[in-house]
Symmetry: C2
Subunit: 774 residues, 2 copies
């Protein structure tokens, strides 16, 4: 039987171009289900895998499912809830610890420098400030580069890509988690203009990823009970909950966290997942509240006394009328333009930094140090340009604030005076935001100071993001946006009834909308931060306007970073030209097909010579039996249950294998075909692939439009989609579609005439600026 038909090269042991294209068979070929090679910042190019959310139906899995007892099903369900609970607990503990550490480290630094300045030792203060920042930055950069380069950056793009089906290596390893937490603390404490929200999302996702694996095999922390979760679907669900918990912990915004996961992160969503994510963030909210309460009595060092971290901006007063709408719309438009410009610049700088970082570790470190020293100089230097202002008489706070928190920093000023720019610069980002958001401070800041702060923040955050350390951009964008809003408020002045704190909130919304392009989730996060629901209509308005304006120029920032990193992210929306192409127009390259009962030599040869992850299995008379995965083939080869003659082995297979043999391996644990040895004798033996083949893969006909196939591929979350011929008398499979076949670059590469067609997306282009900057 296995040698009975000769229409594939593979079965003849000669997988070369010639025999595959035998004209008799009109064989379409697919090169695109190969493991693609992409570059990760700061590391060597390494393979990226895509995930499979399809229910794989082969005999072994089916048997395993049938044999599950009601007890095991109940155990599975309750374990999933318990895991969510544990994820919630751990994420909130980590989030709390993060904040505690940052508060104390950064706080201590500011206290020491402020005290030296009180004693007029300005140079020493600067040197200590700069040295502390440099050491912290260097530490964050070194551990990231040397131990876990995957922990660099925000982490949100990686998690988003993972939830879309792109499994970048090691993003959820224990190593990455540890470096992400420690590195983020160091980086944020070092006064770099970077955020901790992004890293917190990655931390949450990482915790969830590790929990679903049952711990880390490498470190001997593996819990057998959690074997049920060693599949892509359950893991994805838990990672979604984890990322929701991350935002919930970063902003103390449980509903915002769920919505963030839903709107920005997740590519597949079910109602039950909504509930699970909500449960996780509820745990985070309750526990965080409890932990913060215990710190109120001052037991946590510098934490909690001033509330440096976690904004409690309950103080914005809201009274607005119809005549306040035009300034708000203006804010939205400018924020949209500024946001898309921000994304554009960040993309350029990130690309440049990647080039530098790739040159070697020395370059990476020099870059980080340069950014740190520049930041220290700006933070310490710029406030000297601001004039000292006398303290207002009617303030409830002490003025000037000696120590760290508060709206009135003394800096170099005489007693009874304060430096408004220092109040913004010489502070953590969280404190700066709180100062900007607070009400009844309309006269506190001078326009020049706020302008200086805005410009500095805008560029500093762009130039800080690309360094190799766990740094986010969410909070820097909030700071920048808040100062932009304040500035607009100051310029409009008495022409509006809105107070400047409210302008700052709206400014933050507009820049966030222009840069992140979320709507509902940002709206809820801002509401939960400011704790004032009456702001809702204005925030909605600003977000809608700024997102609309910014969308006319470019993509959201996380999508841009994903493109830079080379993640094959599958968009939901269908590009118009995809309706012009059929599936047959994009599948290409040699297709490798196995027989139902196949020679070991053939399998080994094909696995060694191609990087494909899925292979059609075809029976005689030429009909499609199903699809078998590379990983399953490797498991089969490892077990070496071969037969001398072609034999059907259904009963044996079901007895000898269980679904856990085929469970997803953690990164780096996967067996490689190159490491396996076979004797001459073994190579001539046979394996019956039937019991291990997914006998009901999803198929599409070759004349289906690419748009329609994408709807299926994206809607179900597939990794392989078999293309079958329209006409008969040919091989029963034409090719395999993978996510790479849907990538615009791939399609436009195959069909270059589409590039300039009217079917491309309607969008303004920065082509002019591109030429200047690149």
């Amino acid at each position: 039987m296995p040698n009975g038909f000769s229409f594939t090269s593979v079965t003849n042991g000669l997988p070369d171009e010639e025999s595959v294209t035998a004209p008799l068979l009109h064989l379409r070929r697919s090169a695109s289900n190969t493991t693609s090679q992409i570059a990760i910042v700061g590391s060597n190019p390494c393979p990226i895998e895509s995930l499979d959310y399809e229910i794989i139906e082969n005999d072994v899995f089916k048997q395993d499912w049938r044999s599950r007892s009601t007890f095991e099903i109940l155990q599975f369900l309750s374990l999933k809830w318990i895991l969510c609970f544990v994820i919630g607990i751990v994420v909130s503990l980590v989030g709390f610890f993060n904040n505690l550490a940052i508060e104390n480290i950064a706080g201590e630094k500011f206290v020491i420098t402020s005290n030296m300045m009180l004693a007029n030792r300005y140079l020493a203060a600067f040197l200590i400030f700069a040295a502390a920042n440099l050491v912290l930055t260097l530490f964050a950069c070194l551990i990231t580069t040397l131990i876990a380069p995957e922990a660099a950056g925000s982490g949100i793009p990686e998690v988003k890509a993972y939830l879309n089906g792109v499994d970048a290596p090691a993003i959820f390893s224990f190593r990455t988690l540890l470096i992400k937490i420690v590195g983020s603390i160091a980086a944020v404490s070092s006064s770099l203009n970077v955020g901790k929200a992004g890293p917190m999302v990655h931390t949450g996702a990482c915790i969830a990823g590790l929990a679903s694996q049952g711990g880390s095999k490498k470190y001997g922390l593996k819990w057998r009970l959690l074997r049920f979760f060693n599949n892509d679907r359950d893991r994805r669900d838990l990672v979604t909950c984890g990322s929701a918990a991350g935002i919930a912990a970063a902003f103390r915004a449980p509903v915002g966290g769920v919505l963030f996961a839903l709107e920005e992160m997740a590519s597949w969503w079910r109602s039950s997942l909504l509930w699970r994510a909500f449960f996780t963030t509820a745990v985070v909210a309750v526990l965080l509240r409890g932990l913060t309460d215990t710190c109120l009595s001052g037991k946590c060092g510098l934490f909690g006394t001033g509330g440096l971290i976690m904004f409690d901006v309950t103080s914005v007063d809201v009274t607005y009328h119809l005549k306040d709408v035009p300034p708000v719309l203006l804010l939205g438009v400018i924020g949209g333009i500024a946001g898309s410009f921000y994304n554009f610049l960040l993309g350029k700088v990130h690309r440049l930094y990647n080039l530098i970082n790739e040159k070697g570790i020395a370059y990476t470190i020099v870059l980080a140090c340069t950014v740190s020293i520049l930041t220290s100089c700006l933070l310490f230097g710029l406030p000297w340009f601001a004039s000292c202002r006398p303290c207002p008489a009617d303030t409830s706070e002490p003025c000037p604030t000696i120590g760290r928190s508060g709206n009135y920093k003394k800096f170099q000023c005489h007693p009874g005076h304060y430096n408004d720019l220092a109040s913004l610069f010489f502070n953590t980002n969280d404190d700066a935001i709180k100062n900007l958001f607070s009400k009844d401070t309309d006269n506190e800041f001078q326009p020049t100071s706020v302008l200086m702060f805005f410009i500095t923040c805008f560029f500093l955050s762009i130039f800080s993001y690309g360094i190799v350390a766990p740094v986010g951009i969410f909070i820097p964008v909030i700071v920048t946006g808040a100062s932009f809003g304040r500035l607009v408020g100051l310029l409009i002045g008495s022409n509006s009834n809105l107070n400047h704190g409210l302008f700052a909130v709206l400014g933050a919304a507009s820049l966030l909308g222009g840069s992140m392009r979320m709507t509902v989730s940002l709206c809820v996060i801002l509401l939960e931060l400011t704790n004032n629901l009456l702001l809702l209509p204005l925030i909605m308005l600003v977000l809608l306007v700024s997102k609309t304006v910014a969308d006319a120029f470019n993509n959201n920032i996380y999508d841009q970073i994903m493109t830079l990193k080379g993640f094959p992210y599958l968009e939901t929306h269908v590009e118009p030209y995809m309706r012009q192409l059929t599936v047959g127009d994009v599948v290409s390259g040699p297709l490798h097909v196995f027989n139902g009962i196949e020679r070991v030599a053939n399998i080994v040869h094909v696995l060694r010579t191609t990087g494909h992850n899925g292979f059609p299995v075809v029976n005689e008379p030429p009909i499609l039996y199903g699809l078998i995965l590379r990983s399953h083939l490797i498991t089969l080869l490892k077990k070496k249950n071969f037969y001398v003659t072609p034999t059907l082995t259904y009963v044996d297979a079901v007895e000898q294998y269980s679904s856990s043999d085929f469970a997803k391996q953690g990164y780096g644990n996967a067996e490689k075909i190159e490491d396996m040895e076979f004797t001459e004798e073994e190579m001539e033996m046979y394996i019956d692939l039937h019991p291990f083949t997914n006998a009901s893969p999803y198929t599409v006909v070759e004349t289906m439009s690419l748009a329609k196939a994408l709807t299926l591929f994206r809607g179900i979350g597939l990794r392989h989609l078999l293309v079958v011929p329209k006409t008969s008398g040919r091989l029963p499979v034409v090719g395999i579609l993978t996510r790479h076949d849907f990538m615009p670059e791939h399609i436009l590469g195959l069909h270059p005439m589409l590039v300039r067609s009217k079917w491309k997306r309607l969008r303004f282009r920065f082509s002019h600026w591109n030429r200047i900057f690149s």
Copy 2:
């Protein structure tokens, strides 16, 4: 060619059982893609259609798409946004008008009766009160029964089913909209314990549905420009936005509205839809705020002076600690049990009412009148059992309240005293909720009064729902839950720090969670109602507990009503037994297949003798060409472009037809095959079906498990799913799956042994109670 192969009965003109089951062909048959007959309350059984969200790819549609200019695409996009804007405007105007009308009608009624009671004319007051209620109820019932029976009930189940793909007749007609608005005003004003939130959602969806149709053809209000939206996908998107706007207008909760549409209503969701819905609710929020502001000066009659409608419960004070968690958990558990019991009872009563209503219009009216009189008696009678209490000295409100709004109703009491039960009963639901939610009123209500109110509300709302009028259950559940929470608060008394207003909010959350089973959306709606974000962790906790408890007993209330109405709703979750069955196990019944070029007589015969909505088109040699829809066939037959000999007509077809010829027809406008006449000559002619056949339908192999097929069917939103054979040498299509094939009743009917298997869902059963009640 058309007579060249003989494997279907249809092509031979003899579509009887015998020839179809020709053993040679192993033909599997599908009876289930018939138009099912279901009963709608208060109307005759009428056909239900299902919707198609699949991209239909036939030559005519493709040509039409290719010929669209960039201008038309831009026009389409901007029109969709403009429609959302218009929907937002209209929904908020209707919502405002609704509230204004109810306020004034109900308010006037209460003012008149109160004044009579002040003059000690108690009997006259009762008679006027009861008569007014009766007239209003009768009016609502009569217009609903006579003009638009589709407007009866909440409307949420209908809209939810529509968004799932079930197109119940006339639910989005202009008639329905009108009756829904007017009837809802009358019913709520008549002091029935019914809500206006559900009808508001239906109203919003209805407005969106009409807008997407370009108006109502029947009333000559058709706008040609909106022809683009005459398809199921765009219409569904707009209806989703409309239902979000409905909730936003009912509760002034824009974010809650979006989440409600996402969590409860929509079956398909995209990120871009989130944004669109958010835009619509933002419009509602801004406009409603503006409209309410204009009423502040008292220009709107009784509206706005007391704020009878739209809760502004900003007054709940929140301080809580860990020791308050146990009572909150208790509230959640009891609320869950009570909620599931509520659903159970409502289902029973609704079934009983349906039986009564089906007997004729007289029965319907008598039933409504009985409920109205009973309600009047209870509302007027029960407060007499409550003892009068002296007015508290330190209240900020006037006590007793003379007029309508406020916490202290005088009723029969002496001056300086108030009747606490009358303050709840002798009020609109909105006012009762506000009284229960308000803080600093811990001593205002007596436990016996609250208990009486709770029990009465619980049962009254159950017995009021089933009458034939536009009535909702959302607000009655809130009232009942709030009184339940108050009661628990009173019983716990000084053992808890939480004030009783807070207990009322949490009680409302627990009963809502137990009955509606939503989480995030309810949480946000309650937060937006109470305007206090600090409540968040407690509300989350209560909702999670009560939903979990209630889910162990039965389904959510809207799903129950959908089951009662016979809507074939496709669940997201996969029942475990579906993994045990293959697709081949459920397709059954005769399959009708057309040739690519088919005789008119055959088409007419098949259309006349079956109710199927989709037919496979097969070419010779037996290969599947695609799927053609009944509605498209009817359009072809109507045009009568027949050919004497079998001819391929690609060019002609593309020239003669445009996609608008095949646009979806509004309800009742669809041509029927029974009304068409053909001459003997025409019957012998041919049509080339190729250009009109969807040439790339989704297919699954017959060995695929039902669970996996459901994932596809539900994930993409299909109406027909072709099943192809695994082995060759047979007809290239085995059957057609429609949504009916996935219904548990259908599957369990075919495979009765599954009923008692371990693969059924794990859930407690009310089988004992069922026997008592039915």
